[in-house]
Amino acid sequence: MNSIWNRRGFLKKTTLATMAGVLGANIVFAKRMPKGVIPVGLSKQNLEEILPGKHPDLIILNNKPWNVQVPPHLLDDATTPGDKMFIRNNGIPPEEVNLDNWTLEIDGESVMNSKSYSLKELKTKFKQYSYHLTLECGGNGRAGYNPPASGNQWTEGAVSCGKWTGVRLKDVLQDAGIKADAVYMGYHAADNHLSGDESKEPISRGVPMAKALEDESLIAWALNDSDIPLMNGYPLRLVFGGWPASASGKWLERISIRNKEHDGAKMTGTSYRVPKYPVAPGQKVPLEDFKIIESMPVKSLITQPKTGAMIRKGEILNIGGHAWAGDLEVKNVSYSIDFGATWQNCELEAPVNRLAWQQWHAEVSFAKEGYYEVWAKATDINGTAQPMVIPGWNPKGYLNNSCHRIAVKITDS
């Protein structure tokens, strides 16, 4: 494991040596460097040395815990590569991963027989499946809300669609046996609480049994036919396409089949929950009026070109990106270059499989020179479209699926 942090959240000696090499000087008072702080000169260009296997142009929102988003133009691939997959950690990833000793336990009130599987057993005992699955953080877009909602201020880039390989969760749960009173599954993982309190789990969420038993719900060990990047859950994780990515537990060690709604860390209170009814911006909402977010709303991204493109009058601009709609398929994507006054349809591809995002393209011409914004709007198969303005405010700033916008300038010659 290449984490630069030791178990207590301090920088490892080897990391300090790397930093000293990069900065060209020893770091004074390195031993006393506070938890999670990185020297200024290291912030971006050396991201790869801090986050092995991640693209240097990713945007760090938080480094303890790591929360890193991806600029939209870097998400242009139909299948998101591991180096361009966002990171949303709630705790500190495990420092040591021993593949030989790693086990997955199945337990809970509603399991018939508690079981334990080694990684090798999982890979040999059950049939393997691969699916392209869209994972988006429930708080993606939070920065757009006013009054500001607390939390990581994600803009657009907390979304991905990788090719995940593993075994079906239902095959494993059914091997252990599911009692008739099963309601929910909850995960337990090897990451550590930020406080260092080993009795606390940083996050322990899950999904209702109906979602758990879908064909595409995976216990995965590979992303794009390689090991999962360590910040994305190496060596084992859950993947539930279309639901808040926090349901897809990373560094997976244990699954509990519950006879009630799972009550682990960040399942209760206001975490990953929204009011049951529309509320005014800034309104106080009683705790009992919150509901758990399940399927994510319809959304799209413009990944081509990068915002800020300047082209000459008369040139045709190719635009494109992805669209997704939680558990649903996207039926239409359209674009506007006049601030939403008129819309033109885009070409839209079918998903590779259920719960995969879909690619869209269009050729755009501009009548005259000037400043333009290209807006994209997706509509799901039920006819629900993305709003052009920020959607209904909610206390924790979840589910902002407003249209993505890029700036384009048309020059005279």
Binding site: P281, G308, M310, V389, S402, R405
Partner: protein, 129 residues
């Protein structure tokens, strides 16, 4: 026309002209909590509040201040405009203190409720095939 009516007419002209030339920054009512307000004017209490009240509310209501949000530069533009067109006098040594006060308590609140302008765009020539 009586002197009183002329005064009222001049007052209305100032207010309307000011409103017409206002920049298009949004009017916000959900002001940040800057503490106690002057009961008479509604301006936030501060060592320089009386200075602002004295210099600015002779011609127009304090509400014309409190319903607007500008940067220090924006407020300077308003003062200059009033001096050029509305007979506002030279504020002299009081001007920096007034601008500091306005920029402190009546600054743009930074975020649009529904969509903000696209900002920090790094323009680049896109070479098409």
């Amino acid at each position: 026309m009586s002197s009183a009516m002329r005064k009222i007419g001049a007052f209305l002209f100032v207010v309307l002209a000011f409103l017409a030339c206002r920049t298009n920054q949004p009017i916000k009512n959900n002001t940040l909590d800057h503490g106690e307000k002057d009961a008479e004017s509604g301006l936030f209490l501060d060592n320089d509040m009386l200075l602002v009240k004295g210099q600015c509310t002779g011609c127009h209501s304090a509400k014309l201040i409190s319903m607007n949000r500008f940067t220090r530069e924006g407020w300077k533009e308003k003062i200059t405009w009033m001096q050029q067109t509305q007979n506002l006098w030279d504020l002299g040594e009081a001007e920096p203190a007034i601008l500091d006060y306005l920029a402190k308590y009546y600054a743009p609140e930074g975020k649009a409720s529904r969509r903000a302008n696209l900002e920090n765009i790094e323009w680049y020539p896109l070479n098409l095939p």
